[in-house]
């Protein structure tokens, strides 16, 4: 893949650059997905580019950790709700 986009980039590669996130987010039509995937499979540069982007999204998804609200928060919430009129078991 060329260093800058001002250089000549093959149309198929440019499509991958422009739509890789739509592709990874499953936002493309079935036809567009098939077209992009077909090119990514045969183009090593676009495959590497797509892997780079997928790695980034995986890293972001990795920030999601099961996290429980501390007891102090639950106590505060329940207390304020009770004050507002909520009657619980």
């Amino acid at each position: 893949m060329p260093d800058t986009l001002s250089e000549v980039v093959p149309t198929e590669c440019m499509e991958v650059v422009l739509h890789v996130w739509d592709y990874l987010d499953d936002q493309l039509t079935a036809e567009a997905t098939t077209t992009l995937r077909a090119h990514i499979i045969v183009c090593p540069e676009c495959y590497a580019f797509q892997s780079f982007q997928r790695g980034f999204l995986d890293a972001l998804a990795g920030l999601r950790r099961p996290q429980r609200a501390p007891w102090r928060v639950k106590a505060r919430v329940l207390a304020s709700l009770a004050e507002a009129g909520l009657r619980t078991h």
Binding site: M1, P2, D3, T4, L5, V9, V17, L18, H19, V20, W21, D22, D25, Q27, A48, F49, S51, F52, Q53, G55, F56, L57, D58, A59, L60, A61, G62, L63, R64, R65, P66, Q67, R68, A69, P70, R72, V73, K74, R76, V77, S80, L81, A84, G85, L86, R87, T88, H89
Partner: protein
Amino acid sequence: MKDQDAAFEREALPWIDDVYRFALSLTRDESDADDVVQDTFLRAYRSWHTYLPGSDCRRWLFTICRNVFLRSRERARPTVELDATDVDAAAVGSVYATAAREGFEDIFSRLDLVPAINDALDKVPEPFRSALIIVDVEDQSYESAAEMLGVPIGTVRSRLFRGRRLMQEQLLTYAIDAGFAPRSACVEQRRNA
């Protein structure tokens, strides 16, 4: 116990852990998150009559949570929307070109980058950060994010793309400045070991 109280206890309260995590992602501060969660559930209880039974209660609570967060920061929603999705999409090509040139093609899979990813997310300005948290971290669809943020799906997409690009640029700069070893150097090191 009133029926509506029972319904609130059954459908809304079990989401407190998720709402807390979401609030913490937005505020990046435990004390602020505590306040936001409390206010979220209070507002949710007071407007429980507007909740559509059987709909996605978690999404409904997230929407309230984000509004509470924005209000707490006294930030009005931006009135100018960026329409530069293609520019952002094209820019990721340049970010990748730099990463490849520096030997950082696999930078995002490195465990030592995790703290930097957290920091980078923290530095992404609103409204882009909320889009990243909702879609990329909380794994919500574009449609859900659009509903939570009160914007069209196209706006979610453009905010998301801008946020991702900003994060990638920050992380790449960090990796270069921090002297992370490029992949080629690691491969060479393993060969020599």
